[in-house]
């Protein structure tokens, strides 16, 4: 790692708590600002409403954090194991599965947020099941998995669209499931999703060295004792579980899972372990800052998070791509 990159890394690490502090300080309820946050940290007594708001912002910031971490690590893992720089966590139809489930559930009259959370999670895992079936039964190559996944994803989206039309004017309730946001995450869904994300993350780190060998090509990786098909399935499995948990919690927030891994790889290079660590940083920063912006850009309305991650993340990514051109 060149020294410029070391400085950049340190800078990004320092940025994380700052972003968190900002995320706690900024919001439409203007009575709670940076001063109250500082008072709170200093242990001063605050009115209970203020504390409630801080709590809300905390949950939201944590949701953004876990979202950033989960999506970018999943995206990175898939990019490595499927050997395609276009792989993102939603590529294999995980979010399509979730939205499909939610739409069908709404069609049959289920609207409780928590029910929908569970349905989204289960239906996302169902699509994952299909992909795993294809991968294991047909002993598929990366390209086969990709094509099967993307086809599944289109198929489910297609059916969803048809049902959405039949839902007619109740479309607004589905729009959330098209855009994604952390504004509606509750402690309950945050907890459940975080656990799944962290378990998945644990396995990604647990297997990082095995995943890392995939850069040597399948033959060499196998000869080193890596069970390539197994690792591929494990990677797909855990990145998808993590993704499913996040889609259920915050809808299909886009771009993070694609852009944050690239940013990480561009900054840090091809070692999977290092890139995975770096992607946690790029992912969470992208998510937290985007969430802060989402509260501000069309104030007092909430902007869809995907729109902000894209508007804010795309220029960063293009800049990094041109700067570190040699790495691609």
């Amino acid at each position: 790692m060149k020294s410029i990159n070391k400085i950049l890394t340190v800078f990004l690490i320092l940025l994380l708590p700052i972003s968190f502090l900002l995320s706690l300080s900024i919001g439409p309820y203007s009575k709670v600002s940076i001063y109250q946050v500082i008072f709170f940290i200093l242990g001063k007594n605050l009115p209970s409403t203020y504390i409630d708001i801080l709590k809300y912002r905390l949950i939201r910031s944590l949701a953004a954090l876990i979202l950033g971490i989960g999506l970018s690590s999943s995206g990175l893992t898939l990019q490595y194991t499927l050997k395609n720089p276009l792989a993102d966590p939603y590529l294999l139809g995980i979010s399509s599965g979730a939205i499909f489930g939610v739409t069908i559930a709404m069609f049959f009259g289920y609207y409780s947020f928590y029910q929908l959370y569970i349905i989204a999670l289960l239906s996302a895992l169902l699509s994952l099941g299909f992909i795993l079936l294809i991968s294991t039964i047909f002993k598929s190559s990366s390209t086969t998995i990709i094509i099967a996944g993307i086809s599944l994803s289109y198929l489910l989206n297609g059916i969803t669209t048809i049902y959405m039309i039949r839902l007619g004017p109740k479309i607004p309730s589905i729009l959330f499931w098209l855009f994604g946001s952390v504004a509606f995450t509750t402690l309950n869904t945050l907890e459940k999703s975080s656990i799944l994300v962290i378990i998945s993350l644990f396995f990604m780190f647990y297997y990082w060295k095995a995943i890392n060998t995939l850069m040597l090509g399948e033959d060499v990786a196998k000869s080193l004792g890596v069970k390539v098909s197994y690792i591929r399935i494990v990677s797909v499995l855990f990145s998808s579980i993590s993704t499913a948990a996040l889609v259920a919690m915050a809808g299909p927030v886009g771009f993070i899972g694609l852009a944050a891994p690239w940013m990480a790889r561009l900054i840090i290079g091809s070692n999977f372990g290092k890139a995975l660590l770096m992607s946690l940083l790029t992912g969470s920063l992208l998510a937290i800052f985007s969430d802060i912006l989402a509260r501000l850009v069309i104030y007092p309305s909430e902007a869809p998070l995907t729109a902000i991650t894209s508007i804010f993340g795309a220029p960063v990514l293009i800049y990094l791509t041109l700067k570190y051109k040699g790495r691609l």
């Binding site: 780190f205 647990y206 990082w208 060295k209 095995a210 890392n212 060998t213 850069m215 040597l216 090509g217 399948e218 033959d219 060499v220 990786a221 196998k222 000869s223 080193l224 004792g225 890596v226 290079g269 091809s270 070692n271 372990g273 040699g326 790495r327 691609l328």
Partner: protein, 250 residues
């Protein structure tokens, strides 16, 4: 002690028999050279021994275990590696230590080990360079150093001397010999340079997917056998109580 046993191994794809009824046994520390014309099945045999493909018949035992269970003790150099082209040399070498390195972290001892072997084989420091910026020979040397750095008990090398200059060819061959002798490592390599097969303890000469001749170099490397296998009238130049074989090109 027998380190590698190959028993009646055959392999076919869609009715096409690629190798057939191959059997041999190697003692610990022995070197085997597999020779034969292009497309005869050398790489296929090596992959079967490495456990990368399953034979359709027969079995391979490495220290009495199937190859899948022995990979910790095994290094394999493919003829054409399919390496991620933007990866840098250090990352590649570290990845090649898999199973022999520290778990979960990159240990300083691991870095030391790969650097040690790297500099035994290469002079210039390309550790932070992208693999695809190296010359063909340098790329082979990097992968060879990765194979050695694993400190295996079995080394399987598919055309280790391809793309290497004569100095490096000699260096690699001497390393192989030395490691087999001193560290009791069993080595199998394939090659097209017949003369170099003399460094091996045994030579396996293949023809049409089958064993044509198997034994000590001096027994196998004979003009009539070679002429038969390679369908050629080979030039035989005795040198230093061994024989150099050359095709006639003039």
């Amino acid at each position: 002690m027998q380190s590698i046993i190959v028993k009646d191994v055959s392999f076919s794809i869609k009715d096409k028999e690629i190798i057939k009824d191959i059997s041999f046994e190697l003692e610990e520390g022995e070197i085997l050279a597999i020779l034969g014309p292009n497309g005869v099945g050398k790489t296929t045999l090596l992959k079967i021994i490495a456990g990368l493909i399953k034979p359709t018949k027969g079995e391979v035992l490495i220290y009495k275990n199937p190859p899948e269970k022995s990979r910790k003790y095994l290094s394999y150099l493919p003829a054409n590696a399919n390496i991620d082209q933007y990866a840098n040399v250090e990352d590649i070498l570290l990845a090649m230590l898999y199973g022999k390195d520290r778990k979960f972290i990159v240990g300083n001892d691991d870095i030391k080990k790969i650097k040690n072997w790297y500099f035994k084989l290469l002079e210039k420091n390309y550790l932070k360079t992208s693999f695809n910026n190296l010359s063909s020979g340098e790329q082979r040397l990097v992968l060879l150093s990765g194979c050695f750095a694993r400190e295996p008990k079995i080394i399987l090398l598919d055309e280790p001397t391809a793309f290497l200059d004569i100095t490096n060819q000699a260096k690699i061959l001497r390393f192989i010999k030395e490691m087999a002798l001193k560290m009791n490592i069993t080595v199998i390599f394939t090659m097209h340079e017949i003369y170099y097969a003399n460094i091996a303890n045994k030579v396996l000469l293949m023809k049409n997917g089958k064993i044509k001749s198997y034994g000590k170099p001096s027994d196998v490397l004979k003009k009539d056998i070679i002429d038969d296998v390679y369908k050629i009238d080979v030039l035989e130049i005795p040198y230093d109580n061994k024989k150099i074989f050359f095709p006639s090109v003039f």
